[in-house]
Symmetry: C2
Subunit: 269 residues, 2 copies
């Protein structure tokens, strides 16, 4: 499978209306999900975040059963792939005003990407992005389609790094361009508070839950960029890559810790 397989509202189709509000305004949401052994990992969690996003944007009428069915049809007999779901407010009249109308459901299937083994051991190189995220609590955490901030941050390097760390306008670490970030200090973990900006990744939530269940100290808090110099280890994570330890963050060098190794054994399948 080289070319993605796409359905729009359940029909095999590679196009959407040029009047779709997803295109006009980024008026919608998406989820990118990993299929392993023929099933989506964390499907319920993805659907729950999608539901939260619908509430934030006031998108009404998403039929989870239909969507789940379309996702299953897209997976077909594939054991390993990526399923991306996009939900938009649909095509409507000109103007920002959202009128209640049928949502657009887009399901896309991509091959599972293959990454070098070195990204897991010894780890990846990360740079600090100059681009800063704005504070918008109303849109924080959900996975909406307004992603120009991520595009501009990702545009700062080519292949020299595997990820870029992004701060907000007040020098707080928030996330990486396409993943969440954790630091280890004094045997516990710290991950940035995302109440003002950033995407609340599904794997981030899973790791937080795991730490709570296993009595691993974890703090979700505002984290100043200057603090990173005192951290013992660093890793990034999302549902597609799993956990990648960071071996270098610009001038800082990190070793892969026992705790990171433990979490990788749980979450990197």
């Amino acid at each position: 499978m080289q070319v993605p397989i796409i359905t729009v509202n359940g029909q095999a189709c590679e196009n959407v209306s040029a009047l779709d509000r997803g295109l006009l305004y980024g008026d919608g949401l998406f989820e990118t999900m990993a299929v392993r052994d023929g099933s989506i990992r964390f499907l319920e969690e993805h659907l729950r975040r999608l539901q939260t996003g619908c509430q934030v944007l006031g998108l009404e009428g998403l039929d989870h059963d239909t969507l789940t069915q379309e996702v299953a049809q897209a997976i077909d007999s594939d054991q390993e792939c990526i399923i991306k779901v996009i939900i938009t407010r649909g095509a409507g009249e000109r103007g920002y005003r959202p009128v209640r109308q049928a949502l657009t459901r887009i399901v896309q299937k991509f091959p599972r990407p293959v990454f070098p083994q070195a990204y897991e051991d010894p780890g990846i190189d990360v740079t600090l992005c100059k681009f800063r995220l704005s504070h918008q609590p109303r849109l924080a955490q959900i996975k909406h389609l307004n992603r120009l901030e991520q595009v501009l941050a990702r545009n700062e390097w080519e292949d020299e790094y595997q990820e870029g760390l992004v701060c907000d306008t007040q020098d707080h670490v928030i996330e990486a361009t396409a993943s969440n970030v954790f630091f280890e200090t004094n045997g516990g973990l710290v991950t940035p508070d995302l109440s003002q900006c950033g995407v609340a990744g599904i794997l981030r939530e899973q790791i937080i839950d795991y730490c709570h269940r296993h009595h691993i100290e974890l703090s979700v808090r505002a984290l100043r960029l200057a603090e990173t110099a005192d951290m013992d280890a660093m890793f990034v994570c999302n549902c597609i890559i799993g956990i990648w330890p960071v071996k270098r963050f610009d001038s800082l060098r990190f070793s892969r810790s026992e705790l990171t190794r433990k979490l990788m054994s749980v979450f990197n399948s």
Copy 2:
């Protein structure tokens, strides 16, 4: 003409690829232009803002001649209509990273909307939106496709008002949901500084230029919401509606001033 006429990359087509980055990330720009007497008003200014937007987003390869030609073909023999142009980074690989590739050009033609005469005299009713704009200087002023902030602000009322005033997170007035805003005080005009957020509207620029040329006092500055209570008059503007005086802004009542009347005679054709 009831249904919009649409071309994509010069071909009659109502759809775009479901892999277009305009849909996936809002990775693009748009312009909404008024056609009067068969020609686009302020075409050069619209193209210049588009060019600025391309530079900000790093969109390369927009052919202005081809675009201008496609716009002219869309207008055809229509004397009055609206032309909307959307430029996106095109369809590419999965992921935020922008790879240089062919841009997508979308040209849409809509009928000219008809507004009640009362919007010009005595004017419109405006409410304050609870939604606050975030500070993102890197994306301020250009007309990009990440418009969820405007959608959420516009979602706060139905038909009770004709516009909503939007502030930033620090109680500065910035703009209205789909237009710029001017206030009159002591015989001169004030319009908000847009260095942190907001769209630099073409008609706003025209009005600023006109004031400079005609020695009308005009200040572009940070404007606190509390200051609006001391203003003598208020109007909103964009290229489609022209200038609409505001007769009521929530509990504040404004009269249409001589200066507003003068500007309307120049810019409302």
